[in-house]
């Protein structure tokens, strides 16, 4: 409906008392768009060193009922996954993102852990994904969609396990956007995957008498396995070589 489009834009300009923005103003606005100027960023996480950011991330995540297991290296991840599933009385069976970043974890050392790679299907009880960044400010995970990271894993299974490398922990959402633009080598629509999911704790609702219930429609449990001594899990998503 281009007629409606022209009518609406015309009314907007009339209300603002001008025609289309003049060229010099447009240039200033383009400049504002392309510099990605930050507005006020809270000091809470920005003032911390990397170790402090990790501590804040864990504390904020646990505050919203995310559980966190910390392991020394990626070699310990399969065992941590198996231990978590057993502790929650969940079957040792999961759907895992087909992201190559997860390939060289020693999954074979846990032969009883049944792993399928692909998108989530109805009936999948447990999903496992990498993440792109972890925002210390609020204990938030930043997940990107893609051929190797189907978003259904983030939402369909009852339990979502996320592998986070310690150096994926950044202070603010703005740091996350910078990493996203750096990964794409560009900005604007071209830098964006279909979805960027910020996830802060398991699904919840307060719609009945404002009493919070976990697991409204998305996962009932969100479990993070934090790999302390490495950040290689980030590399495949950023496209950097190992």
């Amino acid at each position: 409906m281009s007629e409606a489009r022209e009518a609406i834009l015309g009314r907007v300009r009339e209300a603002l008392g001008r025609g289309p923005v003049p060229a010099d103003t447009a240039a200033q606005l383009e400049q504002r768009l392309s510099t990605h100027r930050r507005n006020l960023v809270p000091r809470r996480a920005a003032v911390l060193d990397p170790a402090g950011r990790v501590e804040l991330f864990v504390a904020m995540a646990e505050e919203v009922q995310t559980t966190v297991a910390r392991v020394a290296s990626r070699d310990a991840v399969p065992e941590a996954v198996a231990r978590y599933l057993a502790s929650e009385n969940l079957p040792a069976e999961l759907v895992m993102a087909p992201d190559p970043v997860l390939d060289d974890f020693p999954w074979a050392e846990r032969p009883l852990l049944h792993i399928r790679r692909g998108r989530a299907e109805p009936g999948d009880a447990v999903g496992l994904t990498p993440c792109f960044a972890a925002i210390a400010e609020t204990g938030t995970l930043m997940l990107l969609s893609g051929a190797e990271r189907p978003t259904t894993i983030n939402f369909l299974p009852d339990t979502h396990i996320v592998i986070v490398g310690a150096d994926q922990v950044v202070a603010s959402y703005e740091d996350g956007w910078d990493r996203l633009r750096a990964r794409a080598g560009t900005s604007g629509a071209q830098a964006m995957p279909r979805t960027v999911n910020f996830v802060t704790g398991p699904s919840r609702t307060g719609d009945i008498e404002q009493r919070i219930q976990l697991g409204a429609h998305g996962p009932r449990r969100l479990h993070i396995i934090l790999v302390e001594d490495e950040g290689r899990t980030e590399d495949a998503q950023t496209g950097a070589s190992r």
């Binding site: 990605h36 109805p122 409204a216």
Partner: protein, 476 residues
């Protein structure tokens, strides 16, 4: 929906007399303000963020045409489509057309106030398409054929026993003896019932908290994850948005997101914040094949450049209604349309006309709490006053009220006369009420004294005291 804002006084009386509603509202009026205050106290920069957020919105509105065109170009670059709608009718027709193009039979919906505003569900149903609300609160009120009573907690007017009755009526295939006494059981039942609907839907419709010009993205914020299942599983994703949702950059949206959850529910950040840009990409294993945004005007461009422009800064957090003594007393349905509380009292007359919604800007004590908690610093009381002025100017208020107001204005503009009359009235009332100290009823003020006593004036007036104070100060 047909607005009933013109019967606000009757609606409000019904709300006040409804014991169940009062029970539900009692739970809301303490919880939300407390949690917001705690979240604000934890973030020293909160006040500065409010200023930053306001500046972003003011800048965007001043260049709205530029940013909308920029946003549209980027949506198209990402493979999406934008559909401009001047009116609710045009928007409904666009959505129906998109659904019919894929022979849609069922449509899942995330919570969208714009969809409520245009009455989308009724239109789809009338045309043989079944809309299924998936936000728990929206699902409950859809089953009850009720409008939302709150913009972020649509079923806040209900207690759990009413939800249980609704579910027993609607979910007839389930064991009638099942226990449904706790929110946990109700939540689980809704999850079980809605999961197959998510999987079966042909089209998913969500709202948008923000549109990002820089990237052509739409952003939704939810706690349940229903919005994500709604937009990920069907073949077609339709976003319902209005003009004022656009912001320049991801950084700008981020600043507003820091304000939104804290102001709304007192959370540091909502559980799911999802930034969507276009449809499924080559190689993607899931996600919609089509991504559409329906961009609605419906009266907003008329607010631009008027005294109501600041209302277009609203990010729909509901802090104003969560802190409003009038809303807390009468509930959201009394306001008679989709937007209740102080923001509704300003927005509703803009969208459906002051002649239908004149009661709403009058339903305020002007206590100012709404403005003091608004993350966008919208001067809500001042704008309600603008509506009262317009109502007066358009001769919409009752004749007795208007002539009374005119008489008062005539006197108030003559200070000597005003002081003489006020002094006379105060002495007369003080004398007449000296014995009891208060009045049970007063001529011409029955509306006031019907529900409370009027205290009798005592001693000297403020003006007299002040004059004495000033004179004493001069003598020193």
């Amino acid at each position: 929906m047909q607005p009933t804002s013109d019967t606000f006084p009757e609606n409000a009386r019904a709300g006040l007399a409804n014991d169940t509603l009062q029970q539900a509202l009692a739970m809301a009026r303490t919880g939300f303000p407390l949690r917001r205050a705690q979240a604000v106290a934890r973030l020293p920069e909160f006040e500065a963020l409010r200023e930053a957020g306001k500046a972003i919105k003011d800048h965007t509105l001043a260049h709205l045409d530029f940013y909308l065109e920029k946003w549209e170009r980027n949506v198209i670059a990402a493979g999406g489509q934008v559909h401009w709608a001047r009116t609710a009718e045009e928007a409904r027709a666009i959505v129906l057309g998109l659904c019919r193009a894929v022979d849609a039979r069922t449509v899942t919906k995330g919570k969208s106030m714009v969809a409520e505003e245009i009455g989308l569900n009724d239109h789809l149903e009338a045309n043989g398409i079944t809309p299924v609300e998936t936000d728990l609160g929206e699902y409950i009120i859809q089953l009850r054929h009720e409008p939302p009573s709150h913009i972020i907690a649509p079923a806040i007017h209900l207690v759990k026993e009413q939800v249980a009755d609704t579910f027993r009526g609607a979910h007839g295939a389930l064991d009638p003896a099942r226990p449904l006494t706790e929110p946990r059981q109700l939540c689980d039942e809704a999850r079980d019932v809605l999961r197959p609907q998510f999987l079966a839907a042909d089209v998913g419709i969500t709202g948008a908290n923000f549109l990002v010009a820089e990237t052509g993205s739409s952003i939704i914020v939810t706690n349940e994850g229903n919005g994500d299942l709604t937009q990920t599983l069907p073949r077609v994703h339709i976003v319902m948005a209005s003009l004022e949702k656009v912001v320049p950059t991801l950084e700008d949206a981020t600043t507003l997101l820091r304000l939104l959850a804290r102001s709304a529910t007192g959370q540091e950040f909502s559980t799911y914040t999802t930034v969507s840009t276009g449809p499924r990409r080559a190689g993607d294993r899931d996600g919609p094949e089509q991504y559409h945004v329906v961009l609605l005007d419906n009266g907003r461009s008329k607010m631009l450049g008027s005294e109501f422009q600041p209302m277009l800064r609203c990010i729909r957090c509901a802090a104003c209604m969560n802190h409003c003594p009038v809303y807390a007393a009468v509930g959201g349905h009394a306001y008679g349309w989709v937007y209740p509380g102080p923001m509704g009292a300003v927005l509703t007359p803009s969208l459906i006309g002051i002649e239908k919604a004149g009661h709403l800007p009058n339903a305020s004590t002007f206590c100012g709490r709404c403005e003091s908690v608004c993350p966008m610093k919208i001067p809500l009381p001042a704008m309600m006053r603008h509506w009262r002025e317009r109502e007066f100017a358009q001769r919409l208020s009752p004749p007795a009220y208007r002539s009374g107001l005119r008489l008062w204005a005539w006197i108030a503009r003559r200070p000597a006369l005003y002081h003489a009359l006020a002094g006379l009235a105060s002495r007369a009332l003080g004398w007449a009420g000296a014995r009891r100290g208060r009045f049970r009823s007063l001529p011409l003020a029955a509306g006031w004294t019907a529900v409370r006593d009027m205290p009798a004036p005592q001693g000297r007036s403020f003006h007299a005291l002040w004059a004495g104070h000033q004179a004493a100060a001069r003598r020193q």
